[in-house]
Structure formats: C-alpha cells, structure tokens
Symmetry: C2
Subunit: 518 residues, 2 copies
C-alpha cells in the first residue's frame, strides 16, 4: 500500500504507454516517473523533510498528477488547495497544515500576495508556462536541474495527504489520509469501473478534490492513462473527448447537466466513453433520465462517499441504471458497499438499524481516514471504533442498496416531520421549467422550519410558484412540498467540488437566529 509503487510498476510494464496528455504535452510512464523522482529530488534539496506538508494551488494539468506522486516520493504530504476558496481561506489551510512550500500556477499567481498577507510560505514554486514571477522557483527548472531522489517509500499508515473539507460548515477540517486509504480506494474504484491498463481517464473535475484525486490513484494503480483539461467547461469536455478518446469520465451532477445541454453535444464524438462516474452530490432524477437519453451508449455509475473515506463508500453499477426489467427500482439509490469496505446504517449509539429505517451511514475499511489534522475532538466525534460516521441520513433496502436522504444538517424539520431536501429537489427537478434548484429550511413561527425552494428557471420557460408547488404535490407528500419558491437568474453558488452551498443559501434567512445544525 505504497502510492509510489504503482507508478514504478506502470513504467516497468508499459514503457511506451502514455501516462499524461495535457494541451500539447504528453509523457510516457518512464518520463512521468523520471519527472516525479526529479521533482522529489528538488524538494529534498529545498529542505523538504519526511512528513512535511507541500501545498498546491492550481488548475488541472499533467503537473498536478506529478505533484500527487512527487510529494510522497520525497516523503512529504500533499495539501491540495481548494481553487474556489478566497485568499483568506487558502491562508487558513496553509497555516493550519503548516505547509511552507506552495506550488502555484498561472491562474493563482495574482492571488499570492493576498495569501501571503496572512500565511507564511518559505518556498513558492511556479508551475505555470511563462517565466517565473519574482521570488518564485521554476517548476520545470527544478526538474531539469535536480537528480532523482530515492523513493522515501512511505507506506500503509503513513500520512499521504491532508485534504481540506467542510467549507460548507464554515470550519474547514484537514482530513488526514494514509497511503493504505488512497491505495485501497484506488484499487476498489478500478474494480467497479473496470479500469485496466488500456483505459484512459479525462480529468474534467478539479484535481485538488478527492473525487478526481481518487480516480488519479485508481488509474495509476492499474496503469491507465490520463488526459487533463485545465478546468471544466462542457466545450472543453466535448473537445478533449473527441480528440483524445478517453474511456472513463467523472462528472459531478452539475457538470453532467451542462454537458448534455451543450449545443456542441450532437457534433462531438463520445464513442470512446465506456463509463461515466458521477457523484460528489446527489444527481436529480430528472437530469439522470435526460443524460441516459442523450448518451445512451455509455455505462453510468454513481459513487457515494466523502473525503474521510478516501472517498468511496458505495457504488451504483451501470446495470441498475434502468427504468424497466428485474433490476429496475434502484435508480434513486447511491448503490451498495464498494469492495473495500463495510457500510451500515446506524442509530446515534452506533446500533445497526433494520433495513428500511433511516439512520446515519457508517463505513469501515482500509479506506478510512487517520483523523482530522489537529482536531482530536472532531476526530473522536467522527471516527468511532474504526467506523467513519458520515453525517448523512440514509436507509438500506433488503438488497443492500442505500438511499441517501440528506446530509443531516440539510434535513428540514417542519412540524415535527423530517423532510429530506434531496427528495424535494428531485421532485422539483422533474418540472421542465426548472434548470437548477435547491431546497432549504427557513425559520417558521408555526412549523419551526418551512420548506423553501430556490429555483433557476430554464431558458424560455415560465412557471409560477403555484405551478411548481402543484407539480411537487403530484409527486411527494404535501407536507414535504415547498411552502415558498424563489426564482433567481444567477446560477446557484457552488463549492469547488460542484456542490450547492446550502449554508450560503440559508444564511440570509437565519441572520440573528440560531439553527441547530448549520
């Protein structure tokens, strides 16, 4: 369970194989390993020692993948920084992790002075394509000028990375993942996605985020190739897919929606795509049905998990993505336990609940985190007897499929009833006038909380609040339907991982008040 082992193996068994393709550059596996070992040599010569944290703030590129392996090769710990965060939030993650070396690309050079106003960094490495700005070392020069380091060969329980999460709670936590976590998650994902050495993966989601990061590991474990686009856009996905013929994609639900709505879809060549993994947030059923229709020839999989699980917990395989036949009826499920772990639905005391009862998703396996960096209390509350308590409400059916109801903190308690925002959103999303939507609990004198929907209407449509409420009443119980609908023309605020930031949507309604969980 050593991350560096897999890239050495890939270079040994596939010396002509293409490891990375980005813009006009491509590297074979032996090139890739040579660059990784030289970058590790550079870091060692800069004083990076065993266990030191090295941060990276950058858009996607082949260099991001080199970073993921050069840091452990040097014996250090990755701290991938959130590309959506403000300078203050980025400074927080540097200060909290104690990273004194930061790698930065062209997109974030301008932010550096603002970050440095609040954080101390000793060494800045410029991984852009121009001349390095003053005070920054050149990434390419470091690789060219340094001899390869010997692999530090960290393994098993050794800390591999600190991944910041929980921007949505207001208190970012650094999730400590060991080598065994990322390796076992990688090998499990490779199994479920049927990834093999001949596969090629398109990095369309941000590489700092572990949804994509775990795909990086899965591909490297089996020696599959990588294509990167610097940032997601539906056009970039369609162009890179047509040009480089990836076999596997990972898209968060909002990205799926944008790709299938893109006018370029019809002309693009997506025939190479065998599997699309979606996840990181629940996919509204309406979007999923549309996606099946528009991309009928690829297998769809959902993965559910969280950073604390490296990040995979359950997988919903392609054969259950059907509306008819003996396997139908699972479409709203997040799938079943991945091969690397055990999944249970438990009550607050940790007792396993009967099938069908809603409780907390609890997961154990080699993929669990070591804990939260410098947060023993939060660790103790989340990692209990080796199980990660996810904070997600769900039930498990007789066949072992879990159905995620909601993050517990997004659950709306109205008139004593628990209402899961995801269920209401799923109903809303089926109305043709709804392009995006989010449902939150807002204060109500009468009910405690009331169900409030925020809707971005589809272009050229007109639907009233009453229309949408009536539509929901046809699909779900009255008490779950929105009591109010608010229309917005701007897209909903998203986290770096593409999740709707409900805390942000809720905040104005709760100003000056206390919500139990926020």
């Amino acid at each position: 369970m050593q991350l560096t082992q897999c890239i050495k193996r890939a270079a040994q068994v596939d010396r002509h194989g293409i490891a990375t393709i980005f813009a006009e550059r491509q590297h074979t596996w032996p090139d890739f390993v040579a660059r990784v070992s030289r970058l590790a040599g550079a870091l060692r010569s800069l004083g990076v020692a065993q266990g030191d944290r090295v941060a990276m703030l950058a858009l996607n590129s082949d260099r991001y993948l080199e970073y993921y392996f050069a840091i452990p090769w040097a014996g250090a710990v990755v701290v991938p920084m959130n590309i959506r965060w403000s300078p203050a939030e980025n400074a927080y993650s540097l200060n909290d992790s104690g990273a004194r070396v930061m790698i930065i690309d062209d997109a974030f050079v301008a932010m550096v002075p603002k970050i440095l106003a609040e954080a101390t960094v000793d060494t800045l490495i410029y991984a852009g394509d121009g001349e390095p700005p003053q005070g920054m070392l050149s990434y390419e020069a470091l690789i060219a000028d340094n001899a390869p380091a010997a692999d530090a060969e960290r393994v098993g329980e050794d800390l591999a990375g600190i991944f910041y999460t929980g921007g949505t709670t207001g208190f970012p936590k650094g999730v400590m993942l060991p080598h065994r976590g990322l390796w076992s998650s990688g090998v499990a994902i490779a199994h479920h996605l049927e990834l093999s050495a001949g596969a090629r993966y398109l990095h369309a989601a941000p590489m700092f985020h572990l949804a994509d990061g775990a795909m990086s590991m899965a591909c490297c474990v089996v020696g599959a190739g990588h294509v990167m686009i610097s940032a997601f856009s539906p056009q970039a996905v369609l162009e890179a897919t047509s040009a480089h013929r990836p076999t596997h994609l990972l898209l968060v639900p909002t990205m799926v929606k944008m790709v299938i709505d893109d006018p370029g879809l019809a002309a693009a060549d997506l025939s190479s795509v065998q599997r699309v993994l979606y996840g990181a947030s629940p996919m509204p059923e309406g979007v999923l049905l549309e996606a099946f229709e528009k991309l009928p020839n690829c297998g769809w999989l959902q993965a559910y998990g969280q950073t604390e699980l490296s990040p995979v917990a359950t997988v919903m395989p392609p054969e259950y993505h059907v509306l008819e036949g003996p396997l139908a009826g699972k479409l709203r499920s997040a799938g079943r336990a991945a091969v690397c772990c055990e999944v249970e639905i438990v009550d607050e005391a940790g007792n396993v609940l009967p099938r069908g009862e809603v409780g907390e998703v609890s997961v154990r396996g080699p993929n669990t985190m070591l804990g939260y960096w410098n947060k023993p209390e939060e660790t103790a509350a989340t990692l209990i007897d080796g199980w990660v308590r996810t904070g997600d409400g769900a039930y498990m059916d007789e066949d072992g499929f879990i159905f995620i109801m909601d993050r517990f903190k997004d659950m709306i308690i109205s008139g004593g009833e628990n209402i899961f925002s995801a269920e209401v959103e799923s109903a809303l999303s089926k109305h043709p006038a709804v392009s995006e939507c989010a449902v939150v609990g807002i204060p109500s004198e009468k009910w405690g909380e009331a169900v409030h929907a925020i809707v971005v209407p589809a272009e050229g449509t007109e639907a009233t609040e009453a229309d949408l409420i009536a539509h929901c009443r046809e699909l779900i119980a009255h008490y779950k339907c929105p009591r109010s609908v608010e229309f917005r023309s701007d897209p909903l605020p998203l986290s770096g991982a593409g999740k709707v930031l409900k805390r942000e949507l809720r905040a104005p309604f709760w100003e000056g008040r206390e919500r139990d969980v926020n």
Copy 2:
C-alpha cells in the same frame, strides 16, 4: 484489509447469491456467513482464543471455505494441512504451529491415530458426512448448536494463516501471512482475472494450497461464487464445469495436461469458462500449445509467485498467449508485476540487474509474508528490507516481462555452465513421445553435474534415448541437452500442489554425496 469484511459485504449486497456449491449442497451468501459465524462461536466456546492456530486436513468442500473464514472470525489463525503429506509430516506441522484443534474429513480419519502418535491435539472436529468417529466432535452439530460469535475483526498486520511450504527442501517452513497479504493478493487477482460478482470459480486444485486459497480470497473480495470438487480428476473437472458452468478455473500444468488428454473433453460443455489461470509451476510450452488448440475460446493466464507472496507476484495476461502478431514472443514468460507489487531482478547483494541479465526474483508489496513461523534465521535470509527474495532465477525483458529460468536449487551446474532444468524440460516436452518429464542434475566426475532426464513416454509411442537427445539438440544448445535419459512408466512424484518433486528424483543419485543445494 480484514478478510471477514468481504463475506459480510457479499451477504449484504447479494442476499440471494449462491456462495458455495458442493455435491448436493448449496448455500447463499447469508447462509454462508451464518454458518461461518456459528462455527466461530463453536470454536470460541471450545476455548479457541485470539491468535490460536486451528488446523484442517481435508479434501476440498464447501466446509473448507467456511474454515478459511470462521477461523479469522473467531480471532484465530488457519493452518491448512498438506493432503499429500505423511502422518509424520502432518504431525510436524501440528507440533511446529502448535495447533491444538484439528478439523478432519472422511479422507483422513484413518490417518488420525498415526498423526496423534506424534502430535498432541486437544480437539478433533469431524467435517465428514457420516456419524462422527469416537472422540471427535461433529462439525455440523457445532454449527447447529452454537450461537454466532461476534467477528474478532482482526485486520492488517494481524496473522491470518500459517501455510506450510518447502516440502521440496526437506525442511517445511510455516509461512506467516497477515490479513493485508491475503486481502491485497485477492484484490489484485480479481483485477487481473476480471473477476466480478457474477463470476463463479471451480475449486479443482487442493484448497489447502495457497494457489487455490488466493482464488478463494479473490472470489470473496468481489462476491463471486464457488463450486468445489473434492479432489482433482479430469473427469470431475469436466463434469462440474458442464453442470455448474464456472467462469474461472485454476489448474496447475499437470492438471491442464490431464484435462486436455481426457477422452471426455469433446463431449463436455466448457462454454462457460472465460479464464483459466495456470501456475504453481512452469508450464511446458508443448502442453500450452496443445491446450490453446483444444480449448480455443477461453483466455489463458499464468500467475507466478510463491506462498511467501500470498502468493502472486506476476501475471501473464491472455492477450500475450499468442504465437503471432505484435504481442507474440512472450509465451515463455511468467508475465509482469501484478498490480499489488513491485518485482525486480537482483544480484546477491540486492542490486537491481540490467534487463536481460539472470538474477533472483525479488518482490515487495502489501502481499509479502510476515516471516516464517519460529524461524527467525530463515526469515532474515528471505525477507530483506521488506523484499521477498524468491530463490527463483529469472531475467526481465525490456517490456517488464520476467522469464523464470529455474529454482536456483534446481539449476544444474555442468562444466561451469548454468543450465536451467525448466528450459530443457520445455524442449523435451515438445517431442510427441514425451508425456511427462523432469530434468535434474546428477553427479558427474567430469562435469561436476550432468543433465539427466526422466521421461514418462506417451502411450503407444516409442522413442529411444538417442531420439530424445537428438530432438533437444535441434532446439537448445548442446551443452544443455540431456546426457542420459531414463524411461519410467509410473507418473512422476508430485507435491500436494502438483509440482514435480525433483528432490525425490535426485535423491538416489546423490546418496552418500553432498549437493550444494538440495
């Protein structure tokens, strides 16, 4: 990396799935887990404590698979006993491991008094189908009468099993394998064999041996089903395959030969078989070519490894089992590093040798053993800086394929030249008059050792010593060709794993003399 996790997962995600089929019995995954947990409960009530060793001496059955999981469920350690061993050798493995509980089936009941004459066992459990003999507990009654135990949840570095190996060296060693070893080996094998939940594996090789044992783990990790035949015979393989339609087989080379030579082959239905894994000893090229011809529709894979590696090190995938085209030329290779490990060819000091040079195969990964039970010196000589030195001579080509030359101890040193017996056997096996053959070094005044061949002729053929030597001279260098050929009508002596016992063949020639390695 907990072995019991995977069967709990299988029961959760596939409650109607068939776990085991043996004779007239079959069990679903939930049944299987219930039986395992009850057997574990029985063992706990019999006083089996954390880390205790529990031995099993039995032919293949569904109960053998239950044993592999009930023992770790109870917190104990499996000691699968070699079905080919004499009572004295079996007593040795009991005494050496300290196992005080032994599970025994009908085939070995008669041997018990002889074993007990030399070993102390407190509890005998009868896993046969009749009434338990006096002094033995009934396996089925233990399951019926005991409540399920809580899973001991041993994991990672915890000892899972002691597997005796090295009968061929005269000094059996107990290889200590941890949970991480068996789990990572299982997940790697599942990847290379493309095993998934829908697959079904036929246990034709003996289940005590780790070649089959690792397949047990691989199948359970992904939730694939198991069919057992009590012992290998070509007829039993053909019948079970026709009746139960397994997708995957594992056969050692001698078994492959017997299956393809069987007169029942033409009438059998082998259409379900997608993959045949062969290994445990090198496959003579002649047999391989005949096997391709007779079973053209299944993919052949070779796995190379040893018990010390849980046991997989390299895999030779189906697409390289070809005589023509761009992938040809690798047929004599044992393949490339499996996804779970690193493989190098090293000199005696452990330095990696250039490609093409013959040295020792050295392997590192989560699949390595903890060491030899109670044998710190042998452990120190084999497990060096985390690498297992295999004792096998091989070279690696530019593409990362390894070509096994010989066990170092089977290598013949004649006139100062190293001659690899496997190469000579491969040449001999291509002669139509050769059914089985083995090549060993025998004492020679002139050359130190001389190349001696022992041949079992094919039925209805007649070939002389001179014919076979002449045949070899057309294929390999003169100095490698046998100087003498001996014909035998009896089959060659085999180990329990189906390996030819060369030490036994050599012994009469070396009586009263010393061979450097024996």
